[in-house]
């Protein structure tokens, strides 16, 4: 693997994000709006049971990790199709492994930013600290990311095989898995 080529792809997505305001929505606004919405619900439920409230908020924060990584890999790949740039990228010396690895790096970086923002806001607004779940949280976090990455790569496979028409599955697939994702 070439560090230069992976750096090139990271640079490409950094430039893309800085030029697309809606990508900031993906990065921060959607996760925060979700957190606030579930936070209100958790506040209401807290009256009955504080553990149930933590269940909702913790589940929400972990779900965002899974959903964002899973969709972000597919969407970032779709950007190359939407911008008619995929052939230019594939015609360069980049290998498939480098391309996928860079997409994974981009989405993990983005989810780390979303996660950090959500953790801070959950503590500030609702007094909920997800790290109170302990060391097992880290293992679960890694597990979720690996599962989400597999799903993202699967989406890329579908898009490569069936083109644009398979694109919407990028958003749908994580929700199909939601009942079995074990985040709640």
């Amino acid at each position: 693997m070439s560090r230069d080529r992976i750096y090139a792809m990271l640079l490409r997505h950094y430039f893309l994000t800085t030029h697309h305001l809606e990508r900031f929505a993906d990065l921060l606004i959607f996760p925060i709006v979700g957190l606030v919405m579930w936070g209100f619900l958790a506040n209401y439920i807290q009256v009955q049971s504080s553990s149930l409230a933590a269940f909702f908020l913790g589940g929400m924060i972990l779900w965002v990790i899974f959903e964002r990584v899973g969709t972000s890999i597919g969407i970032d790949f779709m950007y190359e199709l939407w911008e008619k740039n995929l052939v230019n990228i594939l015609a360069s010396p980049i290998t498939t492994v480098e391309l996928i690895f860079s997409l994974v790096l981009v989405s993990v970086t983005k989810v780390l930013i979303s996660f950090a923002a959500m953790v801070v806001l959950a503590i500030l607004f609702y007094g909920f600290n997800i790290f109170s779940l302990g060391f097992m949280l880290i293992l679960f976090w890694i597990n979720l990311i690996l599962f989400a990455v597999s799903l993202g790569v699967f989406s890329i496979g579908l898009i490569t095989r069936w083109g644009h028409s398979a694109g919407p599955l990028t958003w749908v697939l994580p929700f199909m898995i939601q009942p079995f994702a074990a985040v709640f």
Partner: protein
């Protein structure tokens, strides 16, 4: 074909899409410093051949060698000396010209990437537009931006797939002069496809004509004109040659050519 050492050698290339044979056992080579016009009607298999050369599409059979190396085995090192340009694929619209070129310089592992980007911009007289977002450029400027990307790694082999499709004659004329200048300076080998026969006559040393995935004629533009139109021709007339050859219907069942144009 020019007698120079071949930079690109294609042997028995085959590409099928389900039951449709897009490229049917073609072989050709391009010598060092040569410009080969790769012609054919729409759907003839030109772009599929180029995609196979780039490794974007996997070939079903045959061998592709660039600089004497098998592309299937040495793709990464080979592609560092190859680049590609097509009017169909633009640079990402929401990035500036400079940002795009920097990304591609890094993708091709160009040494002193930032310096090279500025050099290419200077060479193609686009320095003033370095901070312009691609979608704000005119069609002609976008074509030049594509050329900037295609030259970023100082390629020894350049694959041009209709690089100036739907451009006005002024832009085409400037583009042709640019290609001639760069090819002369860098001694680049070029595979050039176009439906504008004037472009090909201006730049190509030799021409390969493909139809229904098969090579049906090859030679210099003048040789082809003499072969297909008139033995005594003194000037190439690829437009008429193109029409003549395109109307020749290949009889796949009989395995031979059946001329239906006359």
């Amino acid at each position: 074909m020019t007698g120079n050492a071949p930079i690109l050698e294609v042997k028995n290339l085959v590409k099928n899409f389900a039951t449709y044979c897009a490229v049917d056992d073609i072989s050709f080579s391009v010598g060092e410093g040569e410009i080969l016009g790769f012609l054919g009607p729409n759907g003839a298999g030109k772009s599929t051949t180029i995609n196979c050369l780039l490794g974007v599409v996997e070939k079903d059979n045959g061998q592709i060698k660039m600089f004497g190396l098998d592309v299937a085995k040495h793709r990464v090192s080979v592609m560092q000396n190859v680049n590609y340009c097509s009017a169909e694929y633009v640079l990402p619209w929401n990035l500036t010209l400079y940002e795009n070129l920097l990304v591609y310089a890094k993708l091709y592992e160009v040494k002193k990437a930032k310096q090279r980007v500025l050099e290419v911009l200077e060479e193609l007289e686009m320095t003033d537009m370095r901070n312009t977002i691609i979608r704000s450029l005119s069609l002609g400027q976008r074509a030049r931006a594509n050329f900037c990307k295609a030259l970023i790694n100082r390629p020894k082999l350049l694959l041009l797939d209709e690089p100036m499709a739907s451009m006005d004659p002024d832009v085409v004329d400037r583009g042709i002069n640019l290609i001639k200048k760069i090819q002369k300076e860098e001694k680049m080998t070029i595979l050039y496809t176009s439906h504008n026969m004037w472009e090909i006559e201006q730049v190509a040393d030799n021409v390969v004509f493909i139809n229904h995935g098969k090579i049906i004629a090859q030679g210099s533009p003048l040789e082809l004109t003499r072969q297909e139109l008139a033995l005594e021709a003194k000037e190439p007339n690829l437009r008429e040659v193109f029409i003549q050859l395109s109307r020749k219907k290949l009889s796949r069942d009989s395995g031979g050519d059946k001329d239906v144009s006359r």
